[in-house]
């Protein structure tokens, strides 16, 4: 494979996009690809929008994905999917977590959370919607929502051949390994 693939994970500070992309990049690295990963955030710990970008292939140059370049966009939050839509290739894939986090102007009642976002996006691109929060909750911990989404990404990109369980074992704390593996599998199945 010579062509560079671009994966974009977007969400809100605190949703675990960074851990998900860390596992992803480690897996890709161990599979022998050249990998570059970039976190893009300002003061994101304070509720801002966060994206992590992973590029892999035989040789990767720029660490960032431009507009119209992502092969897949996994949005951890509904409105963020719309915000980053222009970074997706016109024939790229969209995975949306049906989970809303209102931002401050919405919380204070000054603005409304945009309506019909998912339908709007579905009209334009190949879109998969899943409720990762619910899936993760059923598994026993909402916090593994990020790994559920990682699972669906792995499936969508056809990366099942990599030993993800081993990578999870290496990256997360021992007591969370089992739960994360379950979450990953659930994400792969539900796509």
């Amino acid at each position: 494979m010579t062509e560079v693939k671009n994966i974009l994970l977007v969400g809100v500070g605190g949703q675990g996009t960074i851990l998900a992309s860390k596992i992803l990049s480690t897996g890709l690295m161990e599979a022998g690809y050249d990998v570059k990963m970039s976190e893009i955030h300002g003061m994101s710990q304070r509720g801002g929008s966060v994206t992590t970008q992973v590029r892999f292939g035989e040789e990767v140059y720029s660490p960032i994905i431009g507009k119209g370049e992502a092969d897949i966009l996994v949005s951890f939050e509904v409105m963020e999917a719309l915000r980053w839509l222009d970074h997706l290739k016109p024939n790229g894939k969209m995975v949306i977590n049906d989970y809303k986090i209102p931002s401050v102007p919405i919380l204070t009642g000054k603005k409304n959370y945009p309506k019909g976002v998912i339908d709007r996006i579905k009209e334009k691109v190949d879109t998969t919607v899943l409720n990762a929060a619910k899936i993760a909750e059923e598994l026993g911990n909402v916090r593994t929502m990020n790994i559920v989404l990682l699972g669906s990404l792995v499936k969508a990109m056809g990366l099942e051949g990599i030993d993800w369980e081993e990578i999870i074992q290496k990256t997360v704390k021992e007591k969370f390994v089992h739960m994360n593996i379950k979450a990953l599998k659930a994400g792969m199945e539900r796509l």
Partner: protein
């Protein structure tokens, strides 16, 4: 062994492998993680948070002078603070090799300005290296140390956000143990008194001459020949973006050593290619020097000097190509401005300040800069680190002089107070303005991700240490009215503010409560206990007045349908600030 490392992690590894034994920094995005990743090498390296960048560099200079390999790191604006020692040390030269990292932030993700610190190398006349990925970031620390010792000078390693924070593959190496060089007393070399400095000035020029030959020979600057229709001169992350766009369709002169520039190499390259592009992020640092040599090239007329560079910008600017994009109605997208966290201890103070009329609030760099934002709108100015206190002083003096009754209130964090706010408070005590200085002591350095500082009782490498007592310090500086309050108790804050504003003398209010995101140290647990809990709104009692919403807590949500407020259980920590502002007592603490 190969590992995926960020540029910052790679620099830390480079510091380890280069046999450096002393490293210091002040945290600042995008440079913070460098020192955090050096800290674990406790056996080999002393790693310290300094109270500011000037101190960080000066301590590294001291280590170098006595013969140790030394290192300092800071963000772009930090170099401004450290510029004073930097320019003098550029004259004296070093003993143990020494590297200074400047992590610049094109695009201003979380700084107060966008500055291209490559200018500093030229200005201070010191050699500069620019890595373009993590592997180079690591290797160049080692190269820089060698150059430093070879040419008797501090070396600037200039990084940018995208190099600092993106991960790429790095081959790890072993540490080279070099020990310490002997120190020989030599004031003619290390004392910049005028008589000696004038001699040093001449040596600086001689050194530049030698470096000019070095830059022509070093493999850090190399050609990559492909088709010769287009030739590209580039450095740092810009080189990667350029390769992304042009790939093998152009030839490159990749520059890793960028001060002084290899003018002969550049001339030779320019002569062989048809069209020459200079692709660089932010300022035309290379382009200006290249054009001054009479070489024709295209650069900033096609590529903007504002903001972070990427492949799209290059593609658009130089090739006039644009990728097809998905079009979708995004007119109702709502922004996601950063905000003070739910339960942030600064909220209580800002809420009270926002109700005060006829005051100017001079703010500073840190989370509390967010006091500028809606709905608190409490802060008027943010200049640079430590400036709030002195700006408040100047404002107050001018207001009083002109018979204006407006009052100045300065807000500054604990870490920022130690950084340079202390000096400013001394100015207030000395020149007696009746300003109110509020020190927001959240027991950590909040904005950059919870680093220790002289007030927290711990060092970067986890040792217990002296904890500076801010009230005592303020009194020692010469402030007589010093009050410590709990910022979560609004009455207490209000009373303290009113008292202070009624004084005809300078005063200090210290709001002392830990940042909610901070992992509590033993000292914190002793002092503050386990205070966290949960609050709830009784929806039958809530009258939808939005008073609580005006505190700006992101855990509070106004529900348009029921016209009542709801509290998000996941975010709320039960700080009870909202409880105190609700006029009908609809909010209650429901759990510990």
């Amino acid at each position: 062994m190969k590992k995926l490392l960020t540029g910052n992690e790679a620099v830390a590894r480079g510091v380890y492998e280069a046999g450096i034994t002393f490293a210091a920094a002040y945290p600042g995005t995008p440079s913070t993680e460098i020192l955090e990743n050096i800290a674990p090498y406790k056996e080999e390296i002393i790693a310290e948070w300094a109270p500011n960048e000037k101190v960080a560099l000066e301590s590294a200079i001291g280590a170098s002078i006595v013969g140790a390999r030394a290192f300092a790191a800071m963000k772009q604006v930090g170099v401004n603070v450290a510029a004073d020692p930097l320019f003098s040390f550029a004259y004296t030269g070093c003993n143990g090799g020494i590297v200074l990292v400047s992590a610049d932030e094109p695009g201003i993700h979380s700084s107060q300005n966008e500055q291209d610190n490559r200018m500093y190398a030229k200005f201070a006349k010191i050699p500069m290296l620019e890595p373009s990925n993590s592997q180079e970031a690591k290797d160049m620390v080692k190269d820089a140390i060698k150059i430093s010792e070879m040419y008797d000078t501090i070396v600037l390693l200039r990084m940018t956000t995208r190099i600092c924070h993106s991960k790429s593959l790095v081959e790890l190496g072993e540490r080279e143990e070099v020990g310490k060089k002997p120190y020989n007393k030599n004031p003619q070399k290390y004392a910049t008194t005028p008589a000696y400095a004038r001699k040093m000035r001449v040596r600086v020029e001689e050194r530049i001459k030698k470096l000019k030959s070095f830059t022509e020979e070093t493999p850090l600057n190399y050609f990559e020949w492909n088709k010769k229709k287009i030739g590209i001169i580039s450095s740092g992350v810009a080189y990667q973006h350029a390769k992304e766009v042009f790939g093998k369709s152009a030839s490159y002169l990749k520059l890793g050593f960028t001060f002084p520039l290899p003018m002969e190499k550049i001339k030779a390259f320019a002569a062989k290619v048809q069209t020459l592009y200079v692709i660089e992020e932010v300022e035309p640092y290379m382009e200006e020097q290249i054009k001054a040599m009479g070489i024709k090239c295209i650069g900033k007329e096609k590529i903007p000097n504002i903001g972070e560079l990427n492949a799209d910008i290059i593609r658009k600017g130089l090739l006039e190509e644009e990728k097809p994009l998905i079009e979708c109605d995004t007119s109702d997208l709502v922004g996601r401005p950063p905000t003070l966290c739910a339960g942030c201890p600064h909220r209580g103070l800002f809420y009270e300040l926002s109700k005060k009329k006829n005051i100017i609030v001079t703010g500073d760099i840190g989370c509390y800069g967010l006091g500028v934002a809606d709905p608190l709108n409490a802060v008027d100015t943010v200049i640079c680190m430590g400036a709030s206190v002195s700006a408040g002083h100047g404002a107050q003096k001018a207001l009083s002089k002109h018979g204006d009754h407006m009052r100045a209130v300065s807000v500054i964090g604990d870490s920022t107070f130690f950084h340079t706010g202390m000096n400013s408070l001394l100015d207030i005590a000395y020149n007696q303005s009746n300003t109110v200085t509020v020190i927001l002591d959240n027991r950590t350095t909040g904005m950059t991700g919870h680093q220790e500082n002289p007030g927290t009782g711990y060092t970067l490498q986890g040792e217990k240490t002296k904890e500076i007592d801010i009230p005592t310090l303020c009194r020692a500086i010469g402030i007589d009215h010093v009050k410590v309050v709990n910022p979560l108790k609004l009455e207490e804050v209000k009373t303290a503010l009113n008292e202070a504003l009624n004084l005809d003398e300078p005063s200090v209010i210290i709001t002392r409560w830990p940042c909610v995101l901070k992992k509590h140290s033993d000292l914190d647990i002793d002092e503050f206990g386990d205070y966290k809990g949960l609050c709830e709104v009784d929806k039958d009692q809530c009258i939808g007045c939005k008073k609580c919403i005006n505190t700006g807590c992101p855990a509070l949500h106004f529900d348009k349908e029921s016209k009542t407020v709801k509290i998000d259980k996941v975010q709320c920590v039960g700080c009870e600030v909202c409880v105190q502002v609700c006029p009908v007592h609809a909010i209650k603490k429901v759990g510990e």
